[in-house]
Symmetry: C2
Subunit: 244 residues, 2 copies
């Protein structure tokens, strides 16, 4: 099985491409889980080395260590979302880099609306529930099935993650749902890369034993009225953001 | 009940004090949940206005908007953790500000090792499971009980959160467990501040429907062997960090 291929000793470079504006937790969930692992190096990359890219409300900056040109072949790519829309497919520097880097990557992953524009043609995928219906416009097949390691599938309106075996181009893409789901995705990714024990240690170290109030974290659980109100809430927030 | 006091219209200033080094997700979990709410303003504060404080491995900076002196009376304080130890109690600028700001705050909260040094004398509290035994040395009473809004308590070796009514000095302190637990804490806090519906909308918007692999997110679930290995794993990570 895929997760038994994890190799604790392998040196791994994880790259998160930066673009403005971005949703902070999309990037920081996987970052927090991955950055503490021995022989895993995290880097942010953007059009210019040393660039500081700010988050949606401008209080937080991620520092780019390299330009796209200088970091063409990471093992792992984590594309995270932005609040306004899908990745702008005419952000050519990003998309060109992503398409090339994906050829040699071990895994190419997305969180939320970072759903891999241009890589998902004909493939099943997921994203944040709000733009979920847009996936098809990007050539992807929206799926409601979360495939787990043991081959079971779980049906829900939106899945939290898709993990497929690493045996095909499709199989090396992992897409995950909205914002917070990047933490779950990262634990699956760590299993694939470093094995189950390392993933368990990371989970314990970040004390990820979720016990949130209210079982409304997915549209199917929230019900139509709350979903509609949340769309309006989201729209209000997006309208308060500074322009690109 | 406490959560029925939420006032959607109230203007609220949430302040996260900065110090180096810090654990990123401690701050970003609550930040992500809180920053999208109308009439909630998030600010980072440190010794110098405009200061950029970097995270543990130096790839990420939070930008201080104000100095401690200039922002003495926030409604909400979120003290997050750092990887090496508890807040250094001789960081006098921070501790002096915290003690004064706590007098007028509506809620004073902590995530992980941000466990409110100097404010917890004689009070029940929690923190990340690793330094949990140290709470007593800071005058606090470690508790294994998570008090939920409806008055039920849940026993476990480490709790995910403590939420008490806002009717006493004790009651306005919320401490939460390790790193990722700040997201859960923030949802409780939003309920107290803005009411249950806003908290539900935030939960849905960040698609917080956790479905991580492995039920080992707390020491009681992980078992002794994994806990011990995780301590060593953590020690290794801490030793790779740049010096303060």
């Amino acid at each position: 099985m895929a997760h038994e291929t994890g190799d604790v000793e392998r040196e791994i470079l994880v790259v998160i491409p930066l673009f403005h504006p971005f949703t902070t937790l999309d990037a920081i969930g996987p970052y927090e889980a991955l950055h503490m692992i021995p022989r895993v190096t995290m880097q942010f990359v953007s059009t210019r080395e040393g660039e500081a890219v700010t988050t949606d409300i401008g209080l937080l900056q991620l520092i780019s260590i390299a330009s796209f040109t200088n970091l063409p072949n990471p093992h792992i790519i984590v594309v995270r979302g932005r609040p306004r829309a899908f990745i702008v497919i005419n952000d050519t520097a990003l998309i060109d880099w992503l398409k090339k880097a994906h050829i040699t990557s071990t895994y190419t992953t997305s969180v939320c609306t970072g759903a891999l524009a241009g890589l998902l043609e004909g493939l099943t995928a997921t994203t944040h529930w709000e733009p979920y219906g847009n996936l098809a416009a990007y050539g992807a097949i929206p799926t409601e099935t979360c495939m787990s390691f043991n081959g079971e599938s779980r049906m829900s309106f939106l899945l939290q993650c898709i993990v497929l075996g690493p045996t095909s181009r499709h199989g090396k893409i992992i897409t995950s749902a909205g914002i917070s789901s990047g933490i779950d995705m990262a634990l699956h990714l760590i299993t694939l890369l470093k094995g189950e024990e390392v993933a368990k240690m990371v989970k314990l170290l970040i004390e990820y034993d979720p016990q949130p109030p209210y079982d409304v974290g997915a549209p199917s659980k929230a019900g139509e009225e709350l979903v509609e109100k949340t769309r309006q809430f989201s729209e209000y927030f997006i309208n308060t953001l500074p322009a690109n």
